[in-house]
Symmetry: C2
């Protein structure tokens, strides 16, 4: 059983036939490190499931590029604010490692909802999860201090600190790389 089917089966039950239907509605997409899944101003055409690799969500905030979050293997990736109402994306999603995905278009996702017995339930559960984490991320982005965001980063992505360049982590935290070094030193000294 492939990773995509395993992820879906953690939310709903699928028959063998439905597994084939789902596999037929997704198609593979490979992104080299640096390539974009969607760029700001474009329509986000797919929901992707990451089989291997890592992507970074970023947006312009008063002229500065801010990193909003990261998604890695085993996670779904999409800017639903563009994908659902079919309007241009205000966020870019960029591979920061060579990344292999399975992607599904809007129309095929509607087919999945209709043809898979528990398809609508999958849609509801997936969007509930995305809804809660997006609100949390956005609130943190505007309200939390850099030190708080760095500690949240370490607990949310403990094993990613090694895979993500320091300047991307600094951009996620909302500070310059030099300031991140200072926070890290303080954290080490405080332990």
């Amino acid at each position: 059983m492939n990773q995509l089917i395993t992820a879906i089966k953690s939310l709903i039950t699928l028959t063998r036939e439905e597994e084939s239907v789902v596999n037929g509605l997704f198609k593979p997409l490979e992104l080299k490190s640096g390539n974009y899944f969607v760029e700001e101003g474009e329509l986000c055409r797919y929901v992707g499931f990451i089989e291997s690799g890592l992507v970074r969500y970023h947006m312009n905030d008063d002229g500065n590029q801010k990193t909003l979050y990261f998604s890695r293997e085993g996670e779904f990736v999409c800017n639903y604010q563009s994908f659902l109402p079919k309007v241009p994306s205000n966020t870019s999603i960029q591979a920061i490692e060579d990344t292999r995905m399975q992607v599904i278009t809007y129309d095929n996702l509607q087919r999945l909802y209709k043809t898979v017995r528990e398809g609508e339930k999958l849609g509801r559960l997936a969007i509930e999860g995305v809804f809660l984490s997006s609100l949390q991320q956005l609130k943190s982005f505007y309200r939390d201090s850099p030190a708080e965001r760095y500690q949240q980063f370490l607990s949310a992505y403990p094993e990613l600190a090694q895979r993500i360049p320091q300047y991307h982590i600094a951009s996620y935290v909302g500070i310059k790389p030099q300031s991140l070094s200072r926070i890290r030193k303080k954290l080490v000294a405080g332990k």
Copy 2:
């Protein structure tokens, strides 16, 4: 046919029998003006459908009470960030007119998803709508200027400007009532 059923039938189809099931899963709730649907720190126990009246969402932001938005007759009301994961609400929802609702508990909503043929689809569509509007509201709350927020208020709630006290509108816009008067004068002068 009651308003709740009409609202649900704008999203999915319901048989006569399912209409009875839905009506049986909701119960009426009346709030006097000033009463709370949920208070900050409490669990949000219901999704409500407003039959008549008006509510205001507000939260503390660094010690100041900020108005996030309003919901009126014909709309659903809930703090999903509390209701879905069953954690205390970070937002209060307060009636600002005498308000009549139909409300459903978490457990009854799960029953609705299971027993109504298109129940899961209703859940998916409803949460998609809430997801998009919540993100938009939250971004506007942190990023837009008071003048922008006032104009958005007028276009989002044109007929509510008469029903909502000026100090609540000022709190939604993010300024003192006196400053709102100045913005209104400028808008009138600029027309």
